[in-house]
Amino acid sequence: MCRLAAITSSEYFSPIENINALETMKEGHDGSGMGLILKNLGGEFEELRDYPILSGICSKDGMKTLDDYMNKLGFKLKYTWTPKTRTVKGVMGRDHYFARVYDYPDVYKHSSLEEKEDLLLRTRLALRKFGEGDESIIVFSFYPDILTLKEVGDPLELSEFFGLDKSPLKARIIFAQGRQNTNYAINMYACHPFFIQGYGSMTNGENTAFVPIREFLMSRNFPGYIGYNSDSEVFCHILHYTCKQLGYPLTYYKDVITPLKQTEIDKRTDSEAARLLKIALRPLCIDGPNCVIAFTPDGTCIMVQDAKKLRPGIVGGVKGKYGLMSEECGLDSVVPQRDKSGDIFPMKYDMVIVKPDAQEVMVWNQLHG
């Protein structure tokens, strides 16, 4: 089982806060990897909010291929961030870790967001394909105001390796996962959090319904629904599919992954629509045990549980800073001054929603719709 530490705040903060939270929950992960996604970036990225950031890892050869390809497409490099890596025992470093900010090709200057998103997705997938055979290029995300960092190793050691403790890198939403590698060989693409077109998620637990869900998503005819080196990647794609492709409000994500019984649906005011989508999206039902923490493009963060086996999960904090964590000790390290009686442990029907800028927390109950 992995450990998850998400923080959303109205102020910029360092990812080291997440990593410290993961450290308190160390009994729950085996240090086989860490993933970080930073959203609403500060520091040097603050002025570059509208430009897409390509996050990934390259070998020397891979970097050349990447440059050639990006030049060919007409992307113009505006800024490059690289972590100041240090030698740390137990961490096998790679050639280039990077977050490169690009300007769009000229022909896309006046394109709509959808067209730009499509371009970014196709570019990321092409780069991923170039590097798939020899791992010369690994790309995690290519999207404005999103930075992703992943590597194999213990989170605390990795933060030292990346020099995060001394880095000015800051953001207002940061998701971090400490990995427990139980199911699959260590593959960088299997590391949470996952991201696609503004939606990000991380999960713990095994996804027993993985294969039918994967087959359903892969047959949606959407190029981004590929990969699935981890059975948890589907949670991110289901969120994207529900909210972006189908245009449903966020709370219906819960209805899709943990559909109610018909007798329960009948009591909701939107029962007719809820029944229709329950039937239509039957293959996307999960059977847990999973705790999903996710964010949406507007900066809303959520936590939901499966309907039966329930993984550990807690949401708490103060106005302006909330943590969504696997365990209470993680939350204690991030927001120690909060009123603990207000901590929320979401149960089978709940979706905990933290509004953008961590201004408000609400618990949406699926039974009431």
Binding site: T182, N183, G205, E206, T208, A209, F210, V211, P212, E215, F216, S219, R220, N221, Q245, L246, G247, Y248, P249, Y252, T258, P259, K261, Q262, T269, D270, E272, A273, A274, L276, L277, I279, A280, L281, R282, P283, C285, I286, D287, G288, P289, A307, K308, K309, G369
Partner: protein, 553 residues
């Protein structure tokens, strides 16, 4: 030259040529005559023989012989009256003096064509070997990576959908004040979808089945729905249903079938205005796994008063259904029309789906149905499916196994992203070796949305003797010793419909527990694990490769 056969019986068959040899024990038999009276084939008969007896009574040997006239039970070698091995004689014998024994050296198939009539029978394919389904194992057990579910404590929803399911992209819903609402103004057709138990009772007609058997099944189904809350449904088979049932509220648990003879449909159509509930669905039979390309046949001696009333035909005539629907010109035109016509008859409120026999062309049918928005499902009946009457050659050699047929159809749907839109119903040999839950679960994981059973429920609920060693299998002759497939009151009154109903309920309740015992350790409880192919494996490389599942040893 005059042949000598008259003297040495050379043209008669020997007992060793027959599939079953009756073992009768002279020392136990009290000559009550029950066995010979009950034998459905008249294979055994009382006979009188003269026996020479040698005995000595004095202190020194003084053998004397005498001739005794004795009654015995004799097995005939007449192939028309061959012993079918049903063992009804054993059942009635008070002294355990008689029992048929299978003869593996028999030459039955060489001789059972007298008068140039090929061998016809009921039952299913005579292949006693385990089927592919019985070679599948559930191997992805979640334990430490996923706390296993408790089959006895947790809530399980073992349900499926019968009906055409709209893709999410096309759902008539709109956003109103942050909530989704069904968009009724759009006027878009929303196909009817039923939530049912995923193991259905397949099509067996009143006519093929005796009144008591059918009534027992119907009562069992109704009890499961009304009392146990299990939405098990049952297909009528061809030949209509009693008007009383059609007009009742219980019709919602039944699926009337229309087949190539259209028997019973005059009566059904007349009843439609008087129906208080819609049926669960309508099944259009185009093919049957046991006898692909063959129509049905209800022989004259089964067409008695009840059957003639339900089917709207005279009594005592053969009722053959053509091999194909007479209106069928092409799949594009007539199947679509027929599905649409049947839908229209109930105001498009009832799912209508076709049933075909397992075949390598199933994918072509599927591709056509996918494009027909009124097609509610596709039922595929594999080669191990049962029947009340068919030519032996059809049953034993024609057809396609269900496992790979359903798998390739499912994967085809996946390829086009339609795997949740057109449910696949698998039938044919499910529970052949008694492993009903395991076979059904394996088929779900291969891609079936539901399965249909027929022969299994006859065996489990009414102790049908038939098996894959060609035991009994005289469903076609109306001589069913259990009273399951006969219209002879002397035979069917042996069967108590209440007992059948009770057994149906017991079978389904235990099936439900067994399905949970399979799904729980695999971590599935909310939705049926349709297409969860990573859950199953086999110890056969070729099967694994064909079904695209893992190989284990």
């Amino acid at each position: 030259m005059e042949p000598a056969s008259r003297l040495d019986h050379n043209h008669e068959l020997a007992i060793k040529d027959l599939p079953y040899i009756v073992r009768w024990r002279d020392d136990r038999c009290k000559r009550c005559g029950r066995c010979t009276a009950v034998c459905p084939m008249l294979s055994i008969e009382p006979a009188v023989i003269v026996r020479r007896s040698v005995h000595s009574e004095g202190t020194s040997p003084e053998p004397k012989s005498s001739r005794l006239v004795e009654t015995i039970v004799k097995q005939t070698t007449n192939i028309e009256r061959y012993c079918i091995g049903c063992a009804t004689c054993t059942l009635v014998c008070p002294n355990e003096a008689i029992e048929p024994e299978y003869n593996p050296q028999h030459k039955f198939n060489f001789h059972k064509n007298k008068g140039g009539h090929p061998y016809r029978r009921g039952g299913r394919r005579n292949d006693p070997l385990p089927s592919t389904l019985d070679r599948l194992r559930f191997t992805r057990i979640s334990m430490l990576t996923d706390p296993a579910l408790d089959a006895g404590r947790h809530e399980f929803r073992i349900r499926t959908y019968l009906g055409r399911i709209l893709p999410a992209e096309e759902l008539p819903v709109k956003l109103v004040s942050g909530k989704l609402e069904a968009d009724k103004i759009s006027g878009m057709f929303i196909p009817p979808v039923r939530e049912i138990y995923p193991v259905m009772i397949g099509s067996m007609s009143i006519g093929a089945l005796s009144p008591t058997m059918w009534e027992g099944l119907a009562m069992g189904i109704t009890y499961l729905n009304e009392v146990e809350g299990m939405p098990v449904v049952m297909c009528s088979g061809e030949g209509g249903m009693p008007q009383r049932l059609l007009k009742s509220r219980f019709i919602k648990y039944f699926i009337p079938q229309i087949a190539s003879g259209y028997f019973g449909w005059d009566e059904i159509v007349r009843v439609i205005p008087h129906m208080v509930e819609d049926p669960c669905a309508i099944e259009i039979k185009y093919g049957q796994g046991a006898k692909p390309g063959d129509g049905g046949l209800l022989m004259a001696h089964k067409v008695l008063k009840l059957i003639s009333e339900i089917r709207g035909v005279p009594m005592g005539v053969d009722l053959p259904s053509p091999p194909t629907h007479q209106t069928k010109y092409s799949i594009e035109e007539s199947v679509a029309k027929m599905i649409q016509s049947m839908s229209m008859a109930w105001g498009f409120r009832v799912p209508v789906y076709p049933k075909i026999s397992g075949t390598r062309t199933a994918k072509a049918v599927l591709n056509n149905l996918v494009r027909n928005q009124y097609a509610a499902a596709l039922s595929i009946d594999g080669e191990d499916g049962g029947t009340g009457a068919a030519y032996n050659v059809s049953m034993d050699t024609m057809g396609h196994p269900i496992a790979s047929n359903i798998r390739e159809c499912y994967l085809d749907l996946v390829k086009y992203g339609k795997q949740n839109e057109l449910p696949l119903i698998a039938a044919g040999g499910i529970g052949k070796k008694g492993n009903l839950a395991a076979n059904a679960a394996a088929l779900f994981m291969l891609g079936a949305s539901a399965v249909s059973i027929g022969k299994y429920i006859m065996q489990a609920a009414a102790a049908c003797h038939g098996d894959e060693m060609n035991r009994c299998n005289v469903c076609n002759l109306g001589k069913c010793p259990r009273g399951i497939t006969t219209q002879d009151p002397k035979l069917y009154r042996r069967l108590d419909p209440d007992v059948v109903a009770e057994r149906v309920v017991e079978v389904y309740k235990s099936l439900d527990v067994e399905l949970k015992k399979i799904f729980a350790p695999m971590g599935r409880s909310t939705e049926l694990p349709i297409g969860m192919s990573d859950g199953i494996s086999t110890d056969d490389h070729a099967i694994a490769e064909r079904l695209q599942i893992s190989y284990v040893c």
